[in-house]
Symmetry: C6
Subunit: 200 residues, 6 copies
């Protein structure tokens, strides 16, 4: 069943949560690196707001590279591509911001993502995570997919408190105020097998 | 009759399966290389989703070049062009993903494609093959064209099980979960006659 | 409550005041620098007039860099990105001009912005600040957010004089005619912690 | 009378056959070379499908340059421009494919085109010529213009067989399956007077 | 009152006259220089015809740089930006041509503009000034703004002759046939304070 | 009166003839050169077909530079700009082709244009001049403007023969088949005063 979350085997793939008119869904933000000059490509039938989220995530990563132990020059030697399946489904909105940011950070550090973890939240350029909508539907979708931990914006705590506890059973929810805290929760110390040598 | 599959005599041409409102059809994904700086050109009246599939296929190939024995620098020395006849027919959707990926891999390795083989399936950037629609119509079109082997996404197995066995007679169907498995099935060890020297 | 102004902890973030059909609002203009060739990126669902304001602010800064002690060559070594949350809200109009100009000046000098300060005003290329609309609604929003000082165009003084004094209590209002005066009021001598070395 | 075919006096001009709602017409595909970096310019009020035909023709020529004795580097030293008069008439469709391919081959080899020859056919990237529509109307237009030889796709033979022999009198028809066969029929050994030195 | 003309304190700012459905207005054409590669940026909510006027003005200046004592190489070392406040007001039409040309000439020579002078007129690439509309309304707006001298196209003399003398009192009107004559009337020998060293 | 043809005092300005719904008109094609990399800029509210005419004229000139004694390298050292006043009037169609070609040839050779000469005709890339419409109205407009000589496409001779001789009195009409013949008729041996040194 395609709604079951599959732990990614490589760096750069993060599970997000989306709201649709027919309920919540999990989605994957996928990234890959290839040698280049620092460009970012985007695919997945993304609307303008969602494309801007990806741009923001990349800009934030570039201007805070030191916090991740990355040489600024890596952004002149690699291109990154970001895709959100499925290609036939139009997607938009800012709520994949932290998911995109985490995927890019994982790709450039080659650190793996914690399994059975999903997230949702808008990002800003000053590092703050902003609240998003559709929390209840997203939580239900996460459980259906076998997710065990969820990262949410601190300002969405009130939405969780309105959900019946039975629907939250077995889920560990982390609230974040800053983008950098997402990485602490999501990136593992473990590197991808055969990691790319980014700081070459 | 143009519906009969013609074994390509050169690397870079792969037979795909398409769904149309009036039934299934075979189509060819054609590629060619010329010296350049790593750009990809697209023709064939392709819609945005189908263009994104080509971009995805190319990005995946570039970030996994080592698995095919390709020097990363080949992507800085060659341009690739991808065309899907016929020019007057608008085409769209993600289902030509694995066909495009295989065509690009064949062009860059100069390895020939197995004859009488067709395929359909959406690709992702994490290497997974996603299911597509119109399986029954595509199978019928493949048989009409003399196809003997078909590659399908593993998640489309259920669609095949609903087809009467008589319609599947003489067809060998391969199910794949990973994009890399498509290449194992489709690329032959044999090189094109007069192969381009890609790693020059 | 997201309407409470939060003092930025880094250079390059400035609080502005916006008018909307349902009242005034505070907004943040956020900027970040990354190594590059002097390009400016813009996100935040900005309309054409608002994008032109950002262009104007950047051009003015570049042609008056000497007044801020900046080497002209910094604009060939850094890219700047400017974002206005929230991503899902379309924004337009010229009134964020001085806010954008101040954010860029703060980013390139790495000087912090005075806390609890907000501003609104259109900019020009000859350095003059032009009046804007919605003053009353903006003042009310500023107070709700805990703002203590506001910078307004001198030509908006008449709009303030029509507001009942009780609504202005606890607010210090500065009127400016020239863009350069905004920086004198908003930029602090104090540098951001871990300031970027811009003139490297 | 402008419908009379005029033998081109220089390389790079080829006579094609077009279908219009009011009957067949001859058209000229004209090309010229100027020093540059390998770009192709297009004029003549061409629709997207027709522009794609020109792109395909150029890509095929570049990837098969060795078959025409051309150094691959000529495509880095010359720009080519392709025009289809008359400028006020919108044109579209894939049927000028072989005409465009022949015109480009003539320009880059500086070999003249056989006089009183016209052609029509769609091209592909694998070198195959595909059938086109409007054959009867095109044949009538060719005769009116004094054409003596016509190149058609092999798959259009059936359309010719449905035309009354009297309309074909005096016409020699060549059927082609491969694009390379078109050049054998159309390019003369004779060079243009004052040929450009392409392989300089 | 924003309708009062303010003498610019720096080079590159020129007062123009515009016609609107509700009467004449003065407007400012503002320019600034920054180091670059000869590009021109445009802001101010300008329509296509007005943008073309700016392009024309810049092209004329570049091809007649010797008449102003400018090294042609200055156009490879500086970018110029041109803005017409106010940002929220859409503007179009060719009548700001001589105003834009004068502003660019002032910026590149760093010569100041004569105070209390306004102008209107279309420009051409052969140096001729063409007549424009709305002369009466523009004259009235100029007087309201305290303008003392106006430059008009020679072919607009007939429009002035139809205005009652009382409306022209205190105004000196100059008629020009050639663009170069505008500069003689508008540019002062005096340089801006702290002039940019353009021919560095 | 603006309908009187004015002999250009510099190279690069040629008088054309246009048809409009309210009768014929003369128009000027103006060009100027500035140092650059061979780009052509276009202004004058030109439609797509008219822009394509300018592109064609420039391409033809570049590929036949030897016939005009021009070094091919001049097209890598100069930019050319082409303008057709008046800016507020939309213009389109292919009939200004020979006028644009002559203006470009005059600019690059710095040879002056014969006075009181006007022209109209479509151009092609093979050097042939094609017939255009509105001949009668254009002839009348030329006479009103004091034109003494007119260059027309040979295929428009029949249109002249249908005009009453009295309307042609005092006009010398030249018919051309080839673009190169236009230059023989229009370009004078005399250079512009202070000619640009193009082959520097
Ligand atoms: Ca789904
Ligand atoms: Ca998400
Ligand atoms: Ca078909
Ligand atoms: Ca397929
Ligand atoms: Ca808000
Ligand atoms: Ca503001
Ligand atoms: Ca015709
Ligand atoms: Ca044809
Ligand atoms: Ca105003
Ligand atoms: Ca004006
Ligand atoms: Ca006129
Ligand atoms: Ca003309």
């Amino acid at each position: 069943n395609k709604e079951k979350d599959e732990t990614p085997h490589a760096a750069g793939v993060v599970t997000g949560l989306a709201w649709t008119p027919v309920g919540g869904e999990i989605l994957y933000v996928e990234t890959s690196l290839s040698r280049g000059k620092g460009n970012m490509g985007l695919t997945g039938n993304l609307g303008d707001v969602m494309k801007e989220s990806a741009t923001l995530a990349f800009e934030y990563l570039k201007s805070h590279s030191d916090q991740l132990g990355l040489e600024p020059s890596v952004f002149e030697k690699w291109n990154v591509h970001l895709h959100v399946p499925e290609g036939a489904t139009p997607k938009d909105g800012p709520s994949a911001g932290i998911t995109m940011f985490t995927a890019l950070a994982s790709a450039f550090t080659q650190r793996l993502i914690k399994p059975r973890l999903a997230m949702t939240g808008e990002i800003t350029l000053r590092g703050k995570v902003l609240p998003v909508g559709g929390i209840k539907e997203k939580i239900l979708a996460a459980r259906r997919a076998g997710i065990k931990e969820i990262i949410l914006p601190a300002d969405n705590k009130k939405d969780i408190e309105e959900i019946k506890p039975v629907y939250l059973k077995g889920l560990k929810i982390h609230y974040v105020e800053q983008m950098i805290d997402v990485l602490d929760l999501a990136l593992m110390g473990k590197l991808a097998s055969n990691p790319l040598k980014i700081n070459y």
